[in-house]
C-alpha cells in the first residue's frame, strides 16, 4: 500500500485522479493539499466524491507528509506554481508525478519562450523523465520526478511515433489538427468556456502558438533523432471530454493502409493502452478510459492518422497512474481497467 498525496485538489485532473486512485488496490490517498480557505472536505469541492472520500483539504506541510509516510505525490498545480512547490518534496525523497507542464521541456530556454517566465528549478529539470510510458517506459521505474505528458501531445506523439521512428515520413510535413472537449480548458470560469458561448459552437484557438507545440516536437525529435517540426491547431468542441487528432504527413515512399496498420501493430505490440482500429475511432469509445485509439488512412498519397483519447484520463490522470504503476512495479493496468 503506497501512501500518496495530491497537491492541488480543486481541478478536474485532481478529481479524476482521486476517482482512479480510489479503485487502485495498492494506493492509499493520505492527503489532499489545497490552497482552499479553511479545511473543507474534498467532497465539498467535488460533490461527486461525497461518501467516497472522507478527507479534508489541508495546507502543504512537507514534514508532516514525510512523517505520515507519504512516498509519492501527484502534482495537480498550475504551471509555475508547480516548480515553486515540488522541490521541497523532492528534496525529502518523495517521488513525484507532476501533471503540470513545468518539467516537460528539457531546454529551459524553450520553456521561457513558450511559458513567458524563466524556469527556476533547473536542478530537478535535468532529472525529470517525460512520462509517456509507451516511449520513455524504461526510464520510469527509477525516476524520482515524472513530467506527466500533456493531453494533446500524447495523441500526436503516439499517433506519429511508428512513422517517425522508422523515418517513413518527411519530418517537416506534419500537421496536427486537434479537437478537444471543454474540460481541457480547466475549471476556472471564463467567457470562452461559459456554456452559452461555447455550446453549439466550434472554433479554433491558439493557432500557431499553443504551448503543446514544443512538447510534441521534443518527443518526436527524440524518437527521430533529429529535429521535427509540426503545425499544431487546437480546436474547442462543445463536449465535456475527449480529444481527437487528425494528423497529416507526407510519406517518403508510397505506402498503403494495410502496411501502415501492420507497422503500428508491431510498434505497439506490448502497449496495452494503445488500441489499433480498422474503423475510425470516436472519442466516446475511449471516454473515461486510459486507451489511446488509433487508425491510419492513405488519402491521395498522404498519410492521415486519426487518434482519440479521453483528455482527463489518458490525457492526464490515467497516464499518471500508469506511470505510478511502472514506478512501483505494479502491473501497468492496475486501477485502470
Amino acid at each position: 500500500m503506497i501512501k500518496t498525496a495530491i497537491l492541488g485538489g480543486s481541478g478536474y485532473t485532481a478529481l479524476e485522479l482521486i476517482k482512479i486512485l480510489l479503485r487502485h488496490p495498492e494506493v492509499k490517498i493520505e492527503a489532499v493539499i489545497s490552497r482552499a480557505e479553511g479545511t473543507p472536505l474534498v467532497a465539498e469541492q467535488h460533490p461527486s466524491l461525497t461518501g467516497r472520500l472522507d478527507l479534508r483539504c489541508e495546507q502543504l506541510n512537507v514534514d508532516a507528509l514525510v512523517a505520515r509516510g507519504v512516498q509519492c505525490a501527484f502534482g495537480c498545480l498550475p504551471h509555475g506554481v508547480s516548480m515553486s512547490t515540488l522541490p521541497a518534496l523532492l528534496d525529502r525523497g518523495i517521488r513525484i508525478i507532476d501533471l503540470s507542464a513545468d518539467y516537460r521541456l528539457r531546454d529551459p530556454n524553450v520553456y521561457a519562450q513558450w511559458y513567458g517566465e524563466s524556469h527556476h528549478d533547473l536542478a530537478h529539470l535535468t532529472q525529470a523523465v517525460y512520462g509517456l510510458p509507451e516511449i520513455y517506459g524504461e526510464e520510469i521505474p527509477t525516476a524520482q520526478l515524472i513530467a506527466n505528458p500533456g493531453c494533446y501531445p500524447q495523441t500526436a506523439i503516439l499517433g506519429l511515433a511508428p512513422l517517425v521512428a522508422g523515418k517513413h515520413i518527411d519530418l517537416k510535413s506534419i500537421i496536427v489538427d486537434s479537437k478537444s472537449g471543454v474540460s481541457g480548458a480547466g475549471r476556472t470560469p471564463k467567457l470562452t468556456t461559459h456554456f452559452p458561448e461555447c455550446n453549439e459552437s466550434f472554433t479554433a484557438y491558439s493557432v500557431g502558438n499553443h504551448r503543446h507545440t514544443p512538447e510534441i516536437e521534443q518527443a518526436l525529435g527524440d524518437i527521430a533523432g533529429e529535429p521535427v517540426e509540426v503545425i499544431f491547431t487546437p480546436h474547442l468542441v462543445p463536449m465535456d471530454r475527449g480529444i481527437f487528432s487528425t494528423i497529416y504527413a507526407t510519406p517518403v515512399r508510397p505506402t498503403s493502409q494495410e502496411q501502415l496498420l501492420e507497422l503500428y501493430r508491431a510498434y505497439y505490440a506490448k502497449a496495452p493502452f494503445v488500441r489499433l482500429f480498422k474503423d475510425i475511432p470516436a472519442t466516446k469509445h475511449s471516454g473515461g478510459t486510459n486507451y489511446l485509439d488509433l487508425t491510419v488512412r492513405v488519402v491521395r498519397g498522404k498519410i492521415v492518422i486519426l487518434a482519440a483519447e479521453d483528455n482527463l484520463v489518458r490525457g492526464a490522470s490515467g497516464v499518471a497512474v500508469q506511470n505510478f504503476n511502472r514506478m512501483y512495479g505494479f502491473d501497468e493496468q492496475t486501477g485502470l481497467r
Copy 2:
C-alpha cells in the same frame, strides 16, 4: 421610423434585441449605451453583429439622446442599476421598455423582500405597466414605462390565465415546475454555468426562493381578483435557449382535455403569439421565435399544462418588441415574423 436607444449592450437580451430591431422596418437603432471602456464597436462585444450594425458603444448622455431624436429606449441593465438610470430618461419624455425586474412588482415591500434592497424610484413605479401584452395589452399603447415581463413568469401566467380567469382551479394548488436553458443565467461566467459543470448535467436551483415567484403571483392575482399562491421550482437544462414549464393545478370541478383546449382557444383567440397544440410542445419548436406554445392534459383528475417558449425572444427581447409595436400602433407582429 422610431429612433431608439439600447441601454446596456453587452448581454444576451441586448444582442437578441438588436437582431430583432435590425429587421424591424419602423425602427432605427440610434445608440447603444454601455459602460464598456472606450467606445468599442458593438460588434466587438458581439462578433455575430459584424457587418450588420456599424455602431460604437457610447456612454449615457440623456441630453444628447433627446437632441438626436431618440423617442424610445430599451433597458437591458441589471436590476438596481435600472431604477437608478431610467428616471433621467423618463423625465425627459423618453418612453422606456425596461427588461430588468425593477418595475415589475407594484408593491415596493415585495420588491425589497425578494431583491434585498429598497426600491428608490417609487414615482415611476406607480406608473409602470406590466408588459405582458396578452393580459395587460390595453394599457400598453399609452404607457410611458413598460416593465417587460420575466422569462419564467410568462409561461406560468399565460399557461394558467384561462383557468385562473374563469376560477376553474383551486388557487392554492398551483405548482410550476420550470426548466430553462443556460442563457437565462446571463453572460457573466460563473462556476455553475461553466461548460464542464453544467453540460451533461441537470439540476434545480433557487428552490422555493426564486425571484420570479412574486411576479407570477402578482399577475395571476390580478387575473383572479384575489391572491394566488404558487410553488415555483426552476431547473437548469444543458442547452442554450428555451424554457419549458410543467404546471399542475387542481380543478374545482371535473373537466376534460377537450374542454380545456376549447377554453384556451377561446381565451387566446386574438393572441397571435400564443399557439395551442394538441401534441406536447418542445422548446425547439418555438426556438428563436416570439411564440408561447401551450397544451393541456388531464391526469388522474389533475390539470397538467405544458408550456414552451424561447427565453431570449418571447421571454425577453421579442415580447419587448411586441410591446413596442403596441406602444407605437404598429401591427403586433412587425419585425417578429
Copy 3:
C-alpha cells in the same frame, strides 16, 4: 467466481453491465447472448469494449450454458421477449436478474393494461422479487428471479419511501416530475432521439400514461400498506445520462427541512448507495455511479424532494450488480465503488 451470462448484448444497459462486471472481482462473463447475425465480437457492437472483452456473441443454448457452469444470467432483453426467454433458464436452476419490465408488476392485469399484452409466465411472476435493495433487500438473497427496478421508479420510490413509510404525507397528493437523459430511450434510432431533433430541445412525453407509473404505485403501496396514487410526468433532457426527479407531496402536519433530512438520514442509515445532501443534487455528481442522491425542501408548506441518479448505472445495470452481490453474499458495494 460466479460464471454469468448476459442475455441481449446490443443495448446500453448490456454495455454498462459488462463494464461493471469486468471490474467485479467475483464475476466471470461466460457468455453474451445476442440475436445478432453470425457471431460477431461483442466489441464490434460496442467499440468501447475493444481490448477489454474478448468474447463473441452467441445464440441462446440453455443446455450449453448449464454445462459451462453458468449460475446467473442478466436479462437485457426487451419486455415481452424477456418472459418468453427466461423460463427455460429458470427451469434449469439458473438465477436471473431481469432488467426488463416483465416481472416487476405483481398483478398480471395491471401488466396487460399498461403493456398491451397478456402476461404469459404467471408461474415465475409470483416468485419474482422486485429488486430494489433498499426496500426489498431481505428477500433478495434467496430469490431466484429478480425483477430489476425501472430507472424512473427508483428516484420516486426512494425519494418518497421515508415519508410514505411513516405516513407523513397525503398519499393522494404525490406529483413526480422527472427528467431523463436520452440513453433512457434505448439504442434504436428514432426521430425523437435523432440528434438534431432532441439536442437543444426540452419536452415532456407520455404525460399521464408512462409505464413506470404502476411500478411506482406498487412499491409505494407496499411501503404504505395501502394504495398510493401518483401523477408522473417524464421529460427528455438533451444529455446522455442522468435522471432528476422533482417530487411534490402535501404533508399531513407541518414539518421542516431539518426534521425531514433527519428522517431521511435515519431511514437510509444502512443504505450505502443513498446519499443525502443539504445542497441540491445534480445528475453530474452521481453520473457513472450507483448512488441515488437526495435532498428535501419545504416550500409554502409543501414538501419538495429532489432526487438524482445515473439512469444506466443506478437506474439499471449498477443496481442489478447490487442485487447480484446480495444474492451471492458479497459486500453490497463490490464492483460498484
Copy 4:
C-alpha cells in the same frame, strides 16, 4: 411577387428555406410538394411552422403548378430523385434552384464515380450553373437551373479562392479539415446520429472518400484554370448546426497574415456575405445567418485558413435565396438580413 414551389418538404433544408422565404417580401410560397401520404399540413411535419405557414403538402403536378403561376421551384430532394423529377419542370419553363448534388459536377463520369450511378439528365446538366454567387455570380441572373452548392465546399472554395486565383499557393498542397454539426447528416434517423451515440463524441467519417471532394476540386480548378487536388476530411461535431473548416496550404513565396488579409479583403470587397475577421471565427457567430466568416494565419511558413458558416443557411437554403435574388434582380441580401 414571385410564386415559388418547394419540392421535398420534410427535411431540414426545406424547413430552413421556408423560414427564410416567409420573411422574403417578394416571394409567395405557392406549393410544398412532398411524397408524404395524404395531404398533411406542412406544420405537421415541422411543428415550428404552426401558425406561420398554412399550406398542405401536395403531390407533384407540373401542369397545376404552371397554371397557378409558379415561376421558380426550389429542389430539396435527395440526389438521384432530383434529376428524375426536375426535367419535367424545366421543360415547362420553371426556373429551378436545386439543393441536391445532381447538377453540381459538370463531368457525368465524375458524377458516376462518386455517386455510384449514371447521370440520366445530361441535357440539363450542361446548362446548369454552379450557384456559388461570389464566384459564378455573373452567370446566375440568366440561368434557368442553378446547382446550389454543397455546405462543406463553400467553406473550402471561398476560403481558398483568393489564393488559388492569384496562384499564391502550391495547388497540390491543400488540406481541408472540416467539422460539421449533425443537421448536415439530414433528418433520417441512423445509429451514427442517434443522440446517445454522437453526443459527447467527436469523430471523422468518409475520410478520403467524401462526395464533396470533386465539387471542391471542380470549383477551385475553374478559379485556377488548371487542376487542383485536395485532401478533404470531414468530422462530426456534437452540435446542431455550423461548419468550421481549417484549411492548410503551402504558399509559393513567403507571405504574412497582413498581406493575406489584405488580399482577401480586396477579393471579397463586393461580397456582402463574406466577412473577414482578424480574430478566429466561431460557428456561433455565423449561426442562423448567410455569412461565411474567414480569417487567415501563417504558421511556420504554411497558410492556415479558418472558415465558419451555418450549414443550413449559408450552406444550403440561405445561399439558395441569395441565388434566387440574383436570378430575379432583387438586392442580394433581400430576406437574408
